[in-house]
């Protein structure tokens, strides 16, 4: 039987562009914060799981190895996970298997990304594509996502105005987040007037290039109960990946994310959640682009399929709405250091613990869900956390 796993600590730092810290310093910062947060010392930690998407961002081959001393993982088992943006959640899932399998009792999950140490993050993103067939076209993230957004808007009748509202909500929420890179007070008109990057995706529909790191500490049931009276459990995990060839997807449809539905289904099954709209109290949804938050809300059952436009129109996902989404500001407002998108899960934990400060939502959070999206635009990972 798999063991139960709880989150017992979190380490945060400010997200910035061109952070004045090396990878090691960033990792040291959040590792120490997480240990302080959970009242542990580095000697208590059994193993470390690193998550970072693309080594070419910081120009260090196996950048996790360089950060081992800083993480407190020296001469301990350390493992590095990388699935692009979904590293954000697939890394804590790998950490979860460390504990659930009975291998280790206290595991530190460390996600970091230093995206500013290269000439152009989008040029780096071009190198993820297959070198023979796709890379020469010059594809990068906004172009690929423009294609996807177009298919999505067309399929469900979502409008650019509705997309803009997500940007206004998330950047506005980030105003109360002390770690945020890009808090902004915007109007829908501001967003609609921003230049197109790849129609229908506009500048203010996207998330920024960011440096930063996050840490979480996971514990087995026995250890968690010793450390805290109010453990937040990992209740469900799910992953799903479609074909890496986006022209070869199973459903031949860029607008509907079958793999994301698959991942959410697994996570809810495991957590025993039948009706996420009613049972989930809070969600942190991966939103590198505004339309991605809408797609992911649908895939995770936070609104009906095709209903994400109405969800934002009716204010359901606002901070004081019935099902708040990204009260921290999301990737749009807080910043998007690809692998360190684990911040989404960190905020779910902080909300559940009631430690989210000015970002705290005005309701009890017993069940929260976070997701990460990435891979070759075909991988989704979902984690449900909460109380018994």
């Amino acid at each position: 039987m798999p063991k139960r796993v709880a989150i017992v600590g979190v380490g945060m730092q400010k997200y910035e562009f061109r952070k004045e810290q090396t990878v090691e310093e960033m990792v040291f910062d959040v590792a120490r914060n997480a240990l302080e947060n959970s009242h542990l010392s580095k000697d208590d930690i059994d193993s470390v799981v690193f998550g970072s998407a693309v080594d070419a961002f910081c120009g260090i081959n196996n950048s996790d190895k360089v950060a081992i001393d800083a993480s407190g993982g020296l001469l301990k088992p350390t493992m590095r996970n990388s699935t692009s943006g979904s590293t954000a959640i697939s890394t804590p899932i790998l950490g979860y298997t460390h504990v659930a399998s009975g291998m280790h009792d206290l595991v530190m999950v460390l996600c970091y990304e230093k995206m500013s140490e290269n000439d152009s993050a989008q040029a780096v993103f071009n190198t993820v594509y297959d070198e023979a067939y796709v890379r020469p076209i010059g594809l990068n993230v906004p172009i690929q996502c423009g294609l996807e957004a177009r298919a999505y808007l067309h399929k469900y009748g979502i409008t650019e105005r509705q997309m803009a509202k997500v940007s206004v909500k998330n950047r506005g929420n980030a105003l109360s987040n002390p770690y945020a890179q890009l808090p902004m007070k915007l109007t829908v008109e501001d967003v609609l007037a921003s230049p197109y990057l790849s129609w229908p995706v506009k500048l203010l529909d996207t998330s920024p290039v960011t440096d930063g790191a996050r840490a979480l500490i996971l514990a087995s049931e026995d250890v968690a109960r010793e450390l805290t009276d109010d453990p937040i459990w990992i209740k469900g995990v799910g992953r799903g990946a479609d074909s890496v060839w986006f022209m070869g997807r199973k459903n031949k449809d860029l607008g509907r994310l079958d793999y994301a539905y698959l991942a959410a289904e697994q996570a809810y099954d495991m957590a025993g959640i039948r009706n996420p709209m009613a049972e989930i109290d809070y969600a942190e949804v991966y939103d590198p682009f505004t339309y991605k938050e809408m797609q992911h809300c649908e895939a995770m059952g936070l609104c009906p399929e095709g209903g994400a436009g109405r969800m934002i129109d009716e204010g359901i996902s606002l901070k004081d709405g019935p099902l708040p989404v990204n009260a921290s500001g999301g990737l749009q407002g807080e910043g998007n250091p690809i692998g360190a998108g684990m911040s989404r899960l960190c905020w779910c934990y902080l909300q559940a613990k009631g430690q989210a400060g000015a970002c705290q939502v005005p309701k009890d959070v017993n069940n929260a869900v976070a997701n990460g999206w990435g891979g070759m635009y075909q991988y989704n990972a979902v984690m449900v956390i909460g109380r018994d």
Binding site: V54, K65, T78, V128, M376
Partner: protein, 391 residues
């Protein structure tokens, strides 16, 4: 106990000559197909798929992503990884099965070294790129053209190791000869000690023949829990202990001529497998022999011989096929070629073959407990150890 994790299928695609007519995706596909056939499973049975690779080695960012289709991971709960040696896939797969015993997990790794430039400069640049950028990397500038970088670093630690243990160049050549002649392709007709000692010197004591040559290879291994595999083709081989560890990646801050990472990884694996005297309880070992001295260095760190016995072990041929504890009877990296990042998983497959009694030509009689070890290469210090057993 029916929740132990077993290896139920193995598939290896390897070749000494560059595999120019297949892409890395096809190599992985063939390895996975072999592993599925070996286990008597089909693609629909796969629950999870795990791969690993190094971005800079592949020349592609997120280099493990394009392997998903090849290993049957599409629309499955999967876990892609990167930046670790292939043997780490086994560890992640083990934990995946232990967390959800209903899963059948494919773990796979591929390396196509032949796609790098043939003069080896690309690999030297990679080593420079793996070094910590502020304090360590600038030292690479003092190595002309970077061409000798790997050998210089390997030579430094080899020298420290030889000083400490009293090993001579002849002893290292002895190891190279053992492994070069073990591979069935060159059996008996391989080089002798004289040829090895006459091969080109790269950086004393590293010679072209005491260093493993790069090769193309892919490997897939299928894992499942014990109660899931009762009706499968092969007798299961149990994964009874795993351990992995990293030492400091700063070369300057690390003690040379020892492998603390291997020692600590082995300690975890032995504890899990209940092994107290590895030198007596292990029937055969496949350890990383990236350089000839590394085989002995790892045998010491794994506790297969005492620090003062190393020289004696070479002299009395303890690690030969007929010796007390056969090491690298498959030929190791020196004999079979080194597919960086994949060789670790191939070591596991070789041990599984031995335990099943399917190691044609190099079978060690009565092999019941085997050890597979992998080392991540210079300049980082990363090791993984797996103990596999028949029972």
């Amino acid at each position: 106990m029916d929740d132990r994790v077993c290896v139920v299928g193995i598939g290896v695609v390897e070749g000494k000559a560059p595999m120019v007519d297949v892409s890395h995706k096809e190599m992985l596909f063939h390895a996975t197909r072999q592993a599925l056939d070996d286990a008597g499973l089909e693609r629909k049975d796969i629950g999870s798929a795990i791969t690993s690779s190094f971005d800079f080695l592949e020349g592609r960012s997120l280099s493990n992503q394009y392997t998903l289709d090849s290993i049957g991971g599409v629309m499955k709960p999967c876990d892609l990884r990167l930046g670790e040696d292939g043997i780490y896939c086994l560890f992640a797969g083990y934990m995946e099965v232990m967390s959800d015993p209903s899963q059948v997990v494919v773990v796979a790794s591929v390396q196509k070294a032949s796609e790098r430039d043939p003069d080896g400069l690309a690999y030297q640049k990679l080593i420079a790129d793996s070094m910590e950028p502020v304090f360590s990397r600038p030292v690479c500038k003092s190595v002309p053209n970077l061409l000798g970088l790997e050998s210089v670093l390997a030579g430094m630690e080899a020298r420290a190791f030889m000083d400490r243990t009293g090993l001579s160049e002849e002893d290292l050549a002895e190891i190279a000869v053992k492994n070069l002649n073990m591979d069935s392709g060159t059996k008996g007709s391989g080089p002798d000690k004289k040829t090895v000692l006459k091969s080109d010197m790269l950086s004393w004591p590293i010679r072209t023949m005491t260093k493993a040559k790069e090769a193309d290879a892919a490997c897939a291994i299928i894992l499942a829990s014990e109660n899931r595999v009762k009706d499968l083709l092969n007798e299961p081989v149990f994964v009874s202990g795993i351990g992995w560890c990293s030492d400091k990646s700063h070369v300057a801050f690390r003690e040379q001529g020892v492998s603390r990472e291997t020692k600590w990884a082995a300690r975890q694996a032995y504890k899990m497998a209940g092994i107290r005297r590895p030198d007596r309880e292990i029937d055969l070992a496949e350890v990383s022999d990236w350089y000839a001295h590394r085989e002995l260095l790892h045998c010491e760190a794994l506790g297969l011989c005492g620090s003062d016995e190393i020289k004696g072990c070479v002299a009395d041929k303890s690690f030969q096929k007929e010796g007390r504890l056969p090491v690298n009877v498959s030929g190791g990296l020196l004999g079979r070629g080194n597919a960086v990042g994949t060789s670790g998983l191939i070591r596991v497959a070789q041990v599984v073959r031995q335990i099943r009694g399917q190691a044609n030509g190099v079978q060690v009689p009565g092999a019941g407990v085997g050890l597979a070890h992998s080392w991540g290469g210079i300049p980082t210090a990363t090791a993984g150890v797996a103990v596999l057993s028949k029972w």
